[in-house]
């Protein structure tokens, strides 16, 4: 169990940020949301969002061998105990392994596929979950391992979910070693836009460094643009909520929420939310469970957009 202060921020995000978004999405597609994600042994997702959830595939990491396995198995046992004792076992399945591997391989370490991944008899497997909660403790990836698996898995996810509307919740540790890669990406996006203003903003983000503790701004800017780009290729409209930065247990995390809506196009789609709105989006922070716009923002930040979202979610900002 995590110390109080850190769980308080996470809890605020689950209950006051994600929950209204989940409720709204469930209303819009008129059904409980089939969940795929990392509920963790305390299954707080189910306790907080339970009434909006339908079928649930929970993933918990188990590696084949090694010292950590024992600890992992204990976690799985605790998770399952909670699922059954707390009454969530009716529409439930556990898949064991790294989430990224399950997405990339289509099966978990036991060789079992997630229920809502149709692989049999088709060359083009499809996934039909309505809510993905990729609540990682780790960061975006590590350069040394080739193309980071997590990024690969995100690409694959959006491809698998094509033609099926879904919400993607993505939580990442700000630590990673893709810094220069991110800067290159942000510069590249800048080169593709004619707006001098956006080029300047992207340049500002690409220059954030670990040394002045603003490294996470690079991630904050990159992830929405990257998801949006993959979404377009797979014919989705992509709406991105302002990223939320918070302090967890011994680490800093960024929380992203996207709504992906299929457009049925053959060529890549475009989103109603414009590139500029994404580039100019402010950063939100949580402190002791309270949401505020971060005091440090890129020059020319559209603060009002952030305040509007907070208001829509029913959150009073200070």
């Amino acid at each position: 169990m995590l110390p109080l202060a850190s769980t308080q921020n996470k809890e605020a995000i689950r209950r006051r940020w994600d929950k209204p978004i989940i409720a709204k999405f469930s209303r819009s597609i008129k059904k409980p949301l089939d969940y795929f994600g990392l509920p963790g042994p305390d299954i707080r997702d189910f306790h907080d969002w339970g009434k909006y959830l339908g079928f649930k595939t929970g993933i918990e990491v188990v590696t084949k061998r090694g010292k950590v396995v024992e600890e992992q198995l204990r976690k799985v046992n605790a998770l399952e105990t909670n699922v059954i004792l707390d009454g969530f076992s009716e529409n439930w399945q556990l898949r064991r392994g790294f989430l990224e591997n399950i997405i990339l391989d289509g099966v978990d370490i036991d060789g079992n596929a997630p229920a809502l991944l149709a692989t049999e008899g088709t060359k083009n497997p499809r996934m039909t979950y309505d809510l993905h909660n990729w609540d990682f403790q780790g960061g975006l990836g590590y350069k040394s391992k080739g193309e980071a698996k997590r990024i690969q898995a995100l690409k694959r996810l959006i491809e698998l979910q094509r033609a099926h509307p879904f919400l993607l919740l993505l939580t990442l540790n700000v630590r990673h070693t893709l810094g220069t890669e991110l800067s290159r990406y942000l510069t590249g996006i800048g080169n593709e836009t004619y707006s001098r203003k956006h080029q300047r903003i992207l340049k500002w983000y690409s220059e954030r460094k670990a040394i002045d503790s603003t490294e996470h701004y690079r991630t904050k800017a990159t992830v929405p643009l990257f998801i949006r780009q993959i979404a377009h290729i797979n014919s989705f409209d992509c709406y991105c909520y302002p990223p939320v930065y918070y302090e967890g247990w011994k680490e800093h995390l960024l929380h992203f929420v996207f709504t992906l809506t299929p457009q049925g196009t053959t060529l890549p789609a475009f989103s109603k939310q414009q590139l500029g709105q994404v580039v100019e989006m402010p950063l939100v922070e949580v402190h002791s469970g309270k949401f505020v716009l971060a005091s440090f923002q890129h020059p020319g930040c559209r603060k009002q957009d952030g305040l509007d979202v907070l208001r829509q979610l029913g959150i009073q900002s200070k």
Binding site: E70, T81, I84, L85, E90, W92, R95, N112
Partner: protein, 562 residues
């Protein structure tokens, strides 16, 4: 299960921190030597039998609900029974077979927590008592243990593995603070089962059938006599406990396994079955259908007839006891169970019979007497036969008012003359008189009333015959002339003919109506055939009606040909 209170308890390691692993020691004396034999043989275990064993343990721990969940490669068995504290949990590792336990062990393997030994890699027990604030967790590395035993078997030096050491090394304890205040539960996880096993455990139909046969499943709360029977069993069958079992298989709707609510049954007959020395051998309950139809044709073929039970296990099947009935067709009118109490009767390992023994013979003789003993005035067979006769009698009496009314109508409209009316009423009267004794109370009263009515009517008719009304007058009324005028009591004949519209109730009546005369022995033979037809075809069926009509027609033809 070994007797727990005979085993010395261990001390809780006070310095243990939450989550820290500890391998509690155990002495060779705490485990019966048989366990090593059983474990090292590498027996094939049916996964259903193993799951059953754990679920039975749950029920023995007073669980009212047991939940079996199959997900991924794991099976979880959860109960809200008493839970275990540290000492009790450690005792679950221990194992001993004594002669006394033989009855609960023979045929069932009965190796407690080790039932899943060759099925899964790991077994985890997580448990909590209501009074404690922590969950105790015991992890069994079955895979590793199997591996060690296999290696030893293959080693030419045949090293002896001390079982206590093996268990000590591969059974680890830890505890976790619990958020579930006041709650008691036990959850068993069998981890990493093979795909074949998972597939079998995921077969809902098979699981449901197996559970109904092999666990003491509770009655549906809707079943009217469930509570009464349950109470009697708890009081009179030692160790009887039952539970509702919930099956949750990944991607399927959850299924509650319970004995079904069978409507339209008479209140249960419940009691001991004694041997010739007056020693109780078994305890039974049985309910008779209150419809004139067997339970198999009423849609409960799985529950038609009676079945032997020992601790939730079904021994044999419902056919087993049908052989005790000499009138087989009446057997599925009953549903019930016979719980074997005698500890000397031992089931075979296939659970399809009992091991041959004098105790088995005594049990069977006693049960046979209860079910169908010729000397037993209250045997289930006799009760059912009487009920059957009484229901048939009721039906005949119930039909009588319509028959009387019909006679009246026919007389009024002139399609019957007095002789025909007289003879039709005679038939009705003879039916009423013969069935009255067999009928149920209120139908008996009705029969008495109807007999008076019919007799009065007959008197009127007779008066008219005696008055010698001129033929011309009768003709005017439109009746056709009787051929056999003058007979004071007309005998029905093929020519005068029983009117076809009359409800025909059985073969005997059909023959009587046809005018063919029968000798005393014929009547007996035909009654038997008549009963057999009614029992097997059912008197309310189209087939039955058609058959009787056809026989009546053919007999009529025969008469005419003569």
């Amino acid at each position: 299960m070994p007797k727990l209170d005979t085993i010395p308890t261990s001390q809780f390691p006070k310095d243990l921190r939450e989550g820290q692993s500890f391998n509690p020691p155990l002495a060779e004396s705490q485990i019966g030597g048989e366990l090593l034999n059983i474990l090292s043989k590498g027996l094939y275990t049916d996964p259903l039998d193993a799951i059953r064993e754990y679920a039975q343990n749950s029920i023995d721990a007073n669980a009212e609900t047991v939940e079996i969940q199959v997900t991924g490669n794991s099976v979880f068995i959860l109960d809200y029974g008493d839970g275990m504290d540290y000492n009790k949990l450690l005792q679950a590792r221990e194992f001993a077979i004594s002669q006394k336990d033989i009855m609960s062990n023979v045929g069932f393997r009965g190796i407690g927590i080790y039932s899943g030994f060759d099925l899964c890699n790991r077994l985890v027990i997580r448990t909590k008592t209501a009074g404690e604030e922590m969950e105790h967790i015991l992890e069994f590395e079955f895979g590793e243990m199997r591996h060690k035993l296999d290696a030893a078997r293959q080693d030419p030096n045949r090293p002896v593995i001390p079982l206590a050491t093996l268990l000590h090394r591969h059974i680890a304890y830890h505890f976790a603070k619990s958020t579930r205040k006041g709650m008691a539960f036990t959850m068993i996880q069998l981890e990493n089962l093979s795909d074949t096993h998972i597939a079998r455990l995921s077969n809902l139909d098979e699981m449901r059938g197996y559970i109904l046969r092999n666990l003491p499943v509770r009655f549906s709360s809707e079943f009217q006599y469930g509570k009464e029977i349950e109470k009697a069993l708890q009081k009179n069958v030692e160790g009887y406990k039952s539970a509702k079992i919930i099956l949750k298989i990944e991607r399927s709707k959850s299924v509650t396994v319970e004995k079904p609510n069978i409507p339209d049954l008479e209140s249960p007959r419940i009691g001991f079955v004694y041997d010739s020395n007056g020693k109780p051998m078994a305890y039974y309950w049985a309910c008779l259908t209150s419809k004139s139809e067997s339970l198999s044709s009423r849609g409960f073929p799985e529950f038609a007839g009676l079945v032997y039970k020992i601790k939730g296990f079904t021994i044999g099947d419902r056919n087993y006891l049908s052989s005790y009935f000499t009138r087989k067709q009446i057997y599925p009118w009953w549903t019930g169970e016979v719980y074997v109490i005698s500890t000397e009767v031992i089931p075979t390992s296939a659970r399809d019979d009992f091991e041959a023994s004098p105790a088995k013979d005594a049990l069977e003789a006693a049960v046979k007497y209860t079910l169908s003993g010729a000397q037993n005035k209250e045997s289930l067979q006799k009760i059912a036969l009487e009920a059957q006769a009484s229901r048939r009698a009721d039906q005949i009496i119930q039909n009588a008012p319509d028959r009387i009314k019909e006679v009246k109508e026919k007389v009024t409209e002139g399609s019957y003359d007095e002789f025909q009316a007289y003879s039709a009423l005679d038939d009705i009267l003879s039916d009423l008189q013969s069935q009255k004794g067999k009928a149920s109370g209120d139908k008996r009263t009705l029969a008495t009333r109807l007999i008076t009515t019919a007799k009065n009517l007959q008197k009127q008719v007779k008066k008219e015959i005696d008055d010698q009304t001129p033929v011309s007058v009768r003709k005017r009324k439109g009746a056709k002339a009787a051929t056999d005028v003058g007979l004071p009591i007309p005998i029905p004949s093929a020519e005068s003919g029983a009117p076809k519209q009359l409800p025909i109730l059985n073969l005997l009546q059909v023959i009587t109506h046809s005018g063919w005369r029968m000798r005393e022995e014929d009547v007996q033979i035909i009654s038997a055939i008549s009963d057999a037809l009614a029992d097997n075809i059912g008197i309310n069926t189209d087939l039955y009606e058609r058959l009787l009509e056809d026989i009546a027609a053919r007999l009529g033809d025969l008469g005419e040909a003569k």
